[in-house]
């Protein structure tokens, strides 16, 4: 969006903040594609991007009366979208952790093929994790997330080493699988 477009958006936002409902549609029409594209760059899953863009615009229009005319309207909108994307990503991460899933972050800059490959790897790792005991699974997940339990580090390393060995054996289809 060029400077002229940004200024026009700001004027429309000021009007809507003052209660002029005729400014709603032009603002929405201008912001939806921008916020959606921005969210798509932030989040790997297009459905998540849509959700984040929708929530961001709902929040923006809900609080538009707080819009400060001194601020850049587009930056304000994208700031809300960025916050929503981060929140959604954290929420998904927590959900995965609670479900004992693999905390693999997709690289958002990667192309569709690379992303598909990442997803495939994630599915395989998740499947192998499910074959491990609960203790081993917890240890491997801690290792992947770079977490360490408080206390005896040597014992943890020994247990982790054993858990990783079992994980690798399952991964390569070794004796544990048989």
């Amino acid at each position: 969006m060029d400077q002229q477009g940004k200024e026009a958006l700001k004027v429309l936002m000021i009007r809507l903040a003052d209660g002029d409902r005729t400014a709603f549609d032009p603002i929405f029409t201008a912001l939806w594609p921008l916020v959606l594209r921005f969210s798509e760059r932030f989040l790997a899953d297009p459905r998540d991007a849509e959700d984040a863009a929708q929530t961001a615009l709902i929040k923006l229009f809900s609080h538009i009366s707080d819009f400060d005319p001194e601020r850049d309207a587009l930056a304000w909108a994208l700031g809300i979208a960025a916050y929503e994307c981060k929140t959604l990503r954290k929420k998904k991460q927590r959900r995965r952790e609670t479900a004992g899933e693999v905390p693999i972050e997709a690289d958002e800059r990667a192309g569709p093929e690379s992303l598909a490959s990442q997803r495939e790897t994630e599915a395989i790792v998740r499947e192998i994790l499910s074959t491990l005991s609960e203790k081993d699974r917890e240890l491997v997940l801690m290792h992947m997330e770079d977490r360490r339990p408080p206390g005896d580090d040597a014992t943890f390393r020994k247990r982790l080493s054993r858990a990783l060995r079992r994980f690798k054996l399952n991964f390569t289809g070794g004796p544990n699988d048989a």
Partner: protein, 189 residues
């Protein structure tokens, strides 16, 4: 657009939800003036005169404040100034009573009436001054005046009909001349 199509199209769904969120946000904005009118009503009730009358005026005032804020524009901008301007006619009679001048239902001391009239004058002066800075100054004055009068009526119940009429007249007489005498900015109505 049909509801099922709205549900299918993410953009239309987002538009509908955003519009609803906007309208809810406007209603939420009306909460502060509504709370202010509630406070005014409680002050009026504490004066101990005509609770039904105070309640009815308070309810009407809250409804107008929320409606104006929700609709926005010039009337929306006039809500808080109107309520603030309404404070002198609300509080002057109350203050006069608390410094020892007392009004009863049968008769009221002249100071109560004086409190209402002087409160109306101050309210009108304030509104007139604030309206001069607005683009639609008479619309602003009328909207703010309705709210200031409502708030003033809540305080002037103790001065009876004379107090209420006196306060309203004073408000009009002190506000309109300010607007008429002040230079009209370009684009003002």
């Amino acid at each position: 657009m049909h509801d099922s199509r709205i549900a299918e199209d993410p953009k239309e769904r987002a538009r509908l939800l955003a519009r609803r969120a906007y309208e809810r946000g406007r209603l939420r904005l009306g909460l502060l003036p509504a709370l202010l009118t509630l406070l005014f009503t409680l002050i009026s009730l504490s004066l101990g005169r005509e609770p039904l009358y105070s309640g009815a005026i308070g309810l009407g005032l809250a409804a107008i404040a929320v409606l104006f804020t929700y609709r926005g524009g010039i009337p929306g901008r006039a809500v808080l100034p109107g309520l603030v301007a309404g404070m002198p006619p609300l509080l002057f009679p109350w203050a006069l009573r608390s410094v020892g001048h007392y009004c009863t239902s049968g008769s009221c001391h002249s100071l109560c009436l004086l409190g209402c009239v002087s409160g109306g004058l101050v309210a009108g002066f304030l509104l007139g001054k604030w309206a001069t800075n607005q683009s639609a100054r008479y619309t602003f004055l009328a909207s703010g005046g309705i709210l200031a009068t409502g708030a003033g009526l809540l305080g002037c119940t103790m001065a009876g009909a004379a107090g209420m009429v006196g306060m309203s007249a004073a408000l009009v007489l002190s506000s309109v001349p300010i607007l008429m005498l002040s230079p009209t900015p370009s684009g003002a109505r």
